[in-house]
């Protein structure tokens, strides 16, 4: 069983994330220490708040480099949630700090077509359509998740978009780039859909199927 290291960088509701992993039978622990990141075999970057605050939180705890090495060199599977996923990008219109730059994407403010005056943030449950089949196995259609965000990730490569939802425009709901995965929505607030998705993430970590372990 792979231990999941949930990065604590001062932002985000970590309680629900840890609890949901534990509920599905995964082992998860919180850490803000570079040495734990160096040893991690699976990572989760949660987050709620301002882009610049997120980057500052990572830098103050000297986590940017260990995370970069883990994700890009050791190819550790990493799941970003909400702001966590946005930090993977090159930068955000929300702030001035550069992002981690792990995917060819930029974070932009939600802007709707002329005359469409729907509320920002995009807050509430929304239907998600997925084209990726590891994180979203069993969730490709009919899945709903809880969103709260005013900015969204715009990917340069279409193949990096794992799932989309519709809110005035097509919004990237999830990304996937090799070992990097991210969701704009909150699995930890999306009850059974979130549990299924986190379960899929956990399953993707197993090097061999359960039967081979006997």
């Amino acid at each position: 069983m792979t231990m999941i290291t949930v990065v604590d960088y001062g932002l985000g509701n970590l309680g629900s994330v840890l609890n949901m992993f534990r509920k599905i039978g995964a082992e998860a622990r919180l850490s803000e220490k570079p040495e734990d990141i160096d040893r991690a075999t699976a990572l989760v970057l949660p987050g709620v708040g301002h882009f610049d605050e997120g980057m500052r939180g990572l830098r103050e705890r000297k986590l940017v480099e260990p995370l970069g090495i883990a994700v890009r060199e050791r190819k550790v599977p990493m799941l970003g949630i909400c702001l966590g996923m946005q930090l993977f990008a090159r930068g955000s219109e929300e702030g001035r700090e550069p992002g981690l730059g792990w995917i060819d994407a930029d974070v932009k403010k939600l802007v709707f077509p002329e005359g469409d005056r729907r509320p920002i943030p995009h807050m509430g449950w929304n239907d998600v359509v997925a084209t990726e089949h590891t994180l979203f196995r069993g969730l490709e259609r009919g899945a709903r998740f809880y969103f709260v965000h005013s900015y969204h990730v715009v990917c340069e490569q279409a193949e990096d978009v794992a799932a989309t939802c519709s809110y005035g425009i097509d919004v990237t709901a999830a990304v996937r780039h090799e070992n990097l995965m991210g969701t704009q929505f909150h699995p930890e607030k999306s009850h059974r859909f979130g549990m299924k998705l986190l379960g899929n993430f956990v399953s993707s970590l197993s090097p061999e199927p359960a039967s081979a372990r006997a």
């Binding site: 609890n19 949901m20 943030p121």
Partner: protein, 251 residues
């Protein structure tokens, strides 16, 4: 369909007409049950924080937020932007204000400006006077600057509340149906989503409420924690089929 859970002395209680609170169970257990039932949103209200002039029980709220696998609204004793900030950091999605707004309507504006209108629910509890007139209810010595429920709700919206919860005190805990006259008074009046609570009983009562007023949700208390004529404690929700049938009733 939002279960509304009431906190008193750290436990889950249910009131009748905002009085006689009866212990129902451990709140984190009940939240876990609602997780199983795939409830889309939960509201927790501390019914004595304001009366006791104390702040929210942040430690308990942290535990509740950690257990809830759905978005959470919390109200009770929120009197400052700092209180709201702490709640949001703990994993609460929306902060509900009632007494805090009576004392200082600008509190709504401050929290709304700091965190966004979508984080603020204005709570308008409504009682029916002896003469049958609707008035804003208070459970403390403070009273609403504006006694008319609709006008008070409009004031809260002007101050930045992103959502309004209207609760009929006289129907609370009775499972005797929503007060449809009260709901009709509110229909089309507000520019923000409206949640109605107080009196939910069977599906027909819910359909009637949805038909009387344009609502974004129904708040339900007793109906989801009690069962049968002797009010045995049983946590329940609606089936997917029932929920679906209600979606089709809209104004």
């Amino acid at each position: 369909m939002i279960p509304i859970l009431l906190l008193k002395d750290g436990g889950l209680v249910k009131t009748t007409k905002f009085a006689s609170p009866k212990y129902v169970g451990d709140i984190t257990n009940v939240v876990r049950i609602f997780n199983e039932k795939e409830v889309d949103e939960l509201m927790v209200l501390d019914i004595e924080a304001s009366a006791q002039r104390r702040p929210p029980n942040f430690e308990l709220i942290r535990r509740i937020a950690g257990e809830a696998f759905m978005p959470l609204s919390y109200g009770g004793g929120v009197r400052s932007v700092g209180d709201a900030q702490r709640l949001l950091k703990l994993g609460v999605e929306k902060v509900a204000l009632k007494t805090g707004a009576f004392e200082r309507p600008s509190l709504v504006r401050e929290i709304s400006d700091a965190f966004g209108a979508q984080c603020v629910v204005g709570v308008v509890d409504v009682k029916k006077s002896f003469w049958g007139k609707y008035e804003v209810h208070s459970h403390t010595r403070d009273s609403a600057p504006e006694p008319s429920p609709v006008r008070w709700a409009e004031r809260l919206v002007r101050e930045g509340a992103g959502e309004i919860l209207v609760q009929a005190v006289h129907r609370d805990g009775t499972m005797s149906g929503f007060d449809l006259d009260l709901l009709r008074m509110f229909d089309g009046k507000l520019s923000v989503p409206l949640i109605a609570a107080g009196g939910a009983s069977d599906l027909q009562s819910m359909r009637a409420a949805l038909g009387a007023c344009r609502l974004s949700a129904l708040g339900v208390g007793a109906r989801f924690v009690y069962h049968g004529p002797h009010r045995a404690v049983l946590v329940s929700y609606l089936s997917a089929a029932d929920l679906d049938s209600l979606q089709r009733v809209t104004r």
